[in-house]
């Protein structure tokens, strides 16, 4: 049964569109204020060092310099565990990452901030700050950092095992194990067992807009922040926490945001700008350079993974086992948990054991990146699955279908899936024109991969007020990174029976809306959309009361369908009733505040065709299709856009992107020239197949679409390269030299 919708599933022009194609939309760095000072950050040239002394006197003496800040300017509030939108973290780690205290833990680690009358003066002043270091040996990969005798980043960091502090101090912040069934026994039942090792490099989200923050510490003590962030309330709460202020003393105005992908959840600049503003009495703007973004924001972890799967001759998987060690960067939190929960998430395997290790290394503290942890894991699992299919002579889609996760399949961390679309995604791959098309040339190969992401719920707030002209104003707190103003407004419009264009959405500051969690976890269309649905339903309820007044009946007697209120032959469209709200009782404001259950995970697949130059190892993606179960596509064009964007990030991750670190922990390619994200010329059109297995937990069946699509591409590319060049690459990125070296080694 398919539900008929009026607005959902259509493709209206986004509400913020005109501003964004004319240059009028204001992003964080665009803000101009009277008396604005410009800030710069002094960053560590060493990957690991003790700070012996900081002397800021020369910087302070430079004409034009108005304030200098170091960690000593932060309140000495005690340590505590805080959950500020990035998971539970000791405050000392968050604060220590904003400005280093005692030790620098990675090259680029912030040490001091300067505010001056121009950005050039601030930059010059920062270079005049003298820091005396005791340089320490550094450790850069998870396997190295776990070795006995490795340099220790945090002397007080004891390994945790499911909430228990052990006495081990070995750069491992956390070890956990998931197990279901009996893996050992499962492997005994297998006819074929494949176990392989994989390495993936640190990669960056690569948003085009650098981090920025502008702060005014006002004379009344309130701190005003303008910034580009995925979560204005995260910025508010983190800034308040670091500055030891009550949360409501900080007001955050989210500016338009130039991409985030998980990387614009952490706070880097706001507390520094706040201290500089307090000291100078003027607003202070700090914008990261691109080099800062690479060296000192939060890339996503590099990893070492061992994956093992056992199968019977008919392709049935009998057991699986994995070991994952992810590089958290300077502070714990490598997202290895989700990686471990996702590695075999696409399969119904009865006997599974997975061990995960969260390892600190002398690299920037990692942050989320689209389905964090899952892409690394799927690269490993899907490569092994492909090898099993090849050895058993089974079609790669068929072997996945045979083992596909479905409703009732037990996840490795325990719970069973509710309704999910893994099978439907695989069937869509199998039925696609692409999968059945000829490859069309020599040195070509085709590979597939599938992947999973949980998606999340979390709190969201929304208010809607009715205008006399029949339109409504919708106020929400989710920063709009990819058209969510519209996907949220469309859900309200659907409930109200009015066109999407009759909803005017605004994303507002933290004083003006209830708490709303980050734009992340594919949650915004799901959860803030749900808040909008609730607010719209509240409007309908109140409007029925007004209609009842007009018709001298009870509200329960009034029907509402397709935007028309009716009772016994009398009817009134939404707009007409809206014009009468003044005379029937005054303004109508609806509210929705949710912390929803019913989150629906999303499966995605990819089909990649590549051509590999046998003499240079260069891979050209010649055709690519992304397939995803999105539950229900509210605005299909932006759903396709998410799938295409996630796919291309996955392609970049698979083929060329990496943090190329030298042995001293210096990233040698910290520019958009050398980091090599895909350009328009590197890609074909990205085809999309939207699969809709409605999420029974959401009023319109939404699952969320932002993340699962990045998970399969590197694996699909690896499998395609294997077919094209005859080599299995188990290291990301699969850059030309790596492919060539594999060909030579064969």
């Amino acid at each position: 049964m398919s539900t008929q919708y009026n607005v959902i599933g259509t493709r209206p022009i986004r509400h913020d569109g005109a501003d964004k194609v004319t240059g009028r939309a204001l992003y964080g760095a665009d803000i101009q204020l009277n008396g604005l000072l410009h800030g710069a950050i002094l960053r560590s040239p060493h990957a690991h060092a003790r700070i012996k002394r900081i002397d800021t006197s020369k910087a302070e003496a430079l004409p034009g310099v108005k304030a200098v800040a170091t960690a000593a300017d932060f309140p000495a509030a005690g340590d505590k565990i805080v959950d500020l939108g990035e998971g539970a973290t000791p405050l000392s780690y968050i604060r220590g990452n904003v400005l280093a205290q005692g030790k620098v833990l990675y090259r680029g680690h912030a040490i001091a901030g300067v505010a001056a009358t121009s950005a050039h003066i601030a930059e010059e002043a920062a270079s005049l700050i003298e820091v005396e270091y005791e340089v320490l040996p550094c450790t850069l990969t998870a396997p190295d950092a776990m070795k006995d005798g490795a340099p220790i980043l945090h002397e007080d960091l004891h390994m945790q095992e499911f909430g228990k502090k052990t006495d081990k101090v070995n750069n491992v912040a956390d070890h956990f194990r998931f197990s279901i069934g009996d893996a050992e026994k499962g492997f005994e039942e297998a006819d074929l067992i494949i176990e392989r090792e994989f390495h993936t490099s640190t990669v960056h989200q690569g948003y085009i807009e650098p981090h920025n923050a502008t702060v005014l510490w006002n004379n009344d003590g309130r701190v005003q922040v303008w910034t580009s962030t995925q979560g204005s309330f995260v910025v508010r709460d983190t800034t308040a926490c670091i500055l030891d202020l009550p949360v409501a003393q900080v007001k955050v105005t989210p500016m338009e945001i130039g991409g985030g992908f998980g990387g614009k959840i952490p706070v880097y600049l706001e507390p520094v700008a706040a201290v500089l503003s307090k000291k100078s009495g003027r607003p202070v703007k700090i914008v990261m350079t691109r080099k800062d973004v690479f060296e000192a924001s939060g890339p996503t972890p590099g990893s070492y993974i061992r994956a093992k799967i056992g199968a019977k001759r008919d392709g049935t998987f009998t057991a699986a086992q994995a070991y994952l060690a992810y590089e958290a960067g300077a502070y714990p939190g490598a997202m290895v948990g989700p990686g471990a929960m996702c590695i075999f998430a696409a399969y119904d395997i009865k006997n599974v054991t997975v061990d995960g290790y969260d390892v600190v290394v002398n690299k920037p503290s990692t942050a989320a990146y689209r389905a964090p942890g899952a892409t690394n894991a799927a690269f490993a699992a899907e490569s092994v699955v492909d090898e099993i299919a090849e050895k058993l002579g089974i079609d790669p889609v068929d072997i996945r279908l045979k083992n596909a996760a479905k409703e009732g399949t037990q996840r490795v961390d325990g719970p069973k899936y509710r309704r999910v679309g893994c099978v439907e995604v695989l069937q869509a791959i199998k039925a696609s024109e692409h999968y059945n098309a000829p490859l069309g040339g020599p040195n070509r190969g085709r590979g597939i991969g599938i992947g999973f992401w949980f998606n999340v719920g979390l709190p969201s707030s929304c208010t809607i007020s009715v205008n006399a002209d029949g339109s409504v104003n919708l106020v929400e707190g989710s920063t709009d990174i990819g058209g969510t103003r519209t996907s949220i407004a469309m859900q309200a419009a659907e409930v109200l029976g009015i066109p999407a264009e009759q909803v005017h959405p605004s994303v507002v500051d933290t004083d003006s809306i209830g708490f709303t969690a980050v734009t992340g976890g594919s949650r915004t269309t799901f959860a803030t959309g749900w808040a909008a649905i609730e607010a719209a339903r509240d409007i309908v309820r109140q409007m029925k009361e007004r209609a009842a007044k007009l018709w001298e009946t009870e509200p329960a007697e009034v029907n509402f369908e397709n935007g028309v209120f009716s009772k016994n032959g009398k009817s009134m469209p939404f707009a007409e009733l809206a014009s009468k709200i003044g005379e029937t009782g005054g303004p109508i404001v609806g509210r929705g505040a949710v912390n929803p259950r019913g989150v629906g995970g999303s499966f995605a697949g990819a089909i990649a065709d590549v051509e590999v130059d046998p003499e240079t190892g260069k891979t050209q993606v010649v055709r690519f299709t992304s397939i995803q179960d999105v539950g229900k596509a509210i605005h299909p064009a932006y759903v396709e856009g998410q799938m295409q964007g996630g796919s291309v990030q996955g392609i970049g991750w698979g083929l060329n992107e990496e943090y190329y670190m030298d042995t001293t922990g210096t990233m040698r390619n910290s520019s958009l020239l050398d980091y090599r994200m895909p350009t328009a010329l590197d890609l074909p059109m990205i085809e999309t197949i939207i699969v809709e297995v409605p999420n029974p937990g959401h009023p319109f069946g939404v699952r969320g679409v932002g993340e699962a699509n990045i998970v399969p591409p590197p694996a699909a590319l690896a499998n395609a390269i294997h077919q094209a060049a005859g080599v299995r690459l188990r290291t990301l990125p699969m850059k030309p030299s790596t492919i060539m070296e594999a060909v030579w080694a064969k």
Binding site: H120, E123, E124, S127, E615, T616, K618, Q620, L655, N656, Y660, R668, N669, L673, D674, R676, P678, T679, L681, D682, K735, P736, S737, M740, E741
Partner: protein
């Protein structure tokens, strides 16, 4: 960026005077390398001399029989948009079209690419293969040297204090030429290795060939290709050319590739570039 002053002289004399008075001064053409280096603190001139208003440095003049005068400040797009130049030197037009992207080509000049003296400079191997010379002027007058001898170390060239590059002279070509580079992306990338090749043919054999390489030594280097003279046009000769290039290369391992991989690429690129240059030479007859 540190403070600097800016001058935009209208003639060579003023430019040389300014450059002589300010030993740290840098000439500015497209600025696509210079401004990046200054922001990174790698160069800290106290004066920028914008040379784009000097007529001689904006010359783009092709004279059959005499060759091409390419002013040092001529931006790349003017080369490939000039039909006479593109016809006479298709390989040069192609190189101008692969240096940076469209926006970069609106500013960057071949002269700047040469003066920047990067080992990876895309235009230099081709200029060497085409037998180009550099016309230099300075406080003690004018001189001309082979482009092959222009770069002396990474980022360092033969220009003495006060000297500027006026133009690049490219002789008329009788055969074919081609520059090929290897980059992991399809544009907007720095050569992992590059090979510039020119060739003339005689009675179906190679009369003479020139080969130069990018990104495999501290400067662009010339490969001794004299042994190819008189060789027949066939796969063995192409392969031999590749081997000569690989043997001449002195690559290092860095973020762009390993030494072995780069040496291998030299052979592949040289072979492919020579084949392409031979095809062009046949066509031009």
């Amino acid at each position: 960026m540190k403070w600097f002053d800016y001058q935009a002289p209208r003639n060579i004399g003023e430019a040389v005077e300014a450059m002589t008075l300010h030993p740290t001064a840098r000439p500015l053409a497209g600025g696509t390398d210079l401004l990046v280096q200054m922001r990174a603190g790698r160069r800290t001139p106290d004066l920028i001399v914008d040379i784009k208003k000097i007529p001689e440095l904006n010359q783009l003049h092709f004279e059959p029989g005499l060759g091409l005068t390419l002013g040092a400040a001529v931006p790349c797009y003017r080369i490939y948009n000039d039909s006479a130049v593109s016809r006479a030197y298709p390989s040069l037009a192609e190189v101008a079209n692969i240096i940076g992207g469209t926006q970069i080509q609106g500013r960057a000049s071949i002269g700047g690419n040469l003066c920047n003296a990067a080992p990876s400079a895309d235009s230099i191997p081709l200029l060497i293969a085409l037998g180009a010379t550099a016309r230099i002027t300075g406080p003690s007058g004018e001189r001309t040297i082979d482009v092959a001898a222009f770069c002396t170390a990474p980022g360092v060239n033969v220009l003495q204090p006060g000297e500027i590059l006026v133009s690049i002279q490219i002789p008329p070509t009788a055969g074919g030429a081609r520059y090929l580079r290897f980059i992991p992306r399809n544009e907007m990338d720095i050569a992992v290795a590059g090979a510039g090749v020119s060739v003339t043919l005689s009675n179906g054999n190679i009369q003479s060939a020139k080969i130069a390489l990018a990104s495999v030594a501290p400067t662009p280097i010339t490969v001794d290709a004299s042994s190819l003279s008189g060789a027949p046009v066939n796969d063995d000769t192409l392969k031999k050319a590749g081997e000569l290039a690989a043997a001449a290369a002195k690559p290092i391992t860095d973020m762009r590739g390993t030494a072995d991989y780069r040496r291998h690429l030299c052979a592949v690129l040289t072979r492919r570039a020579l084949a392409s240059a031979i095809a062009a030479a046949k066509e031009s007859k």
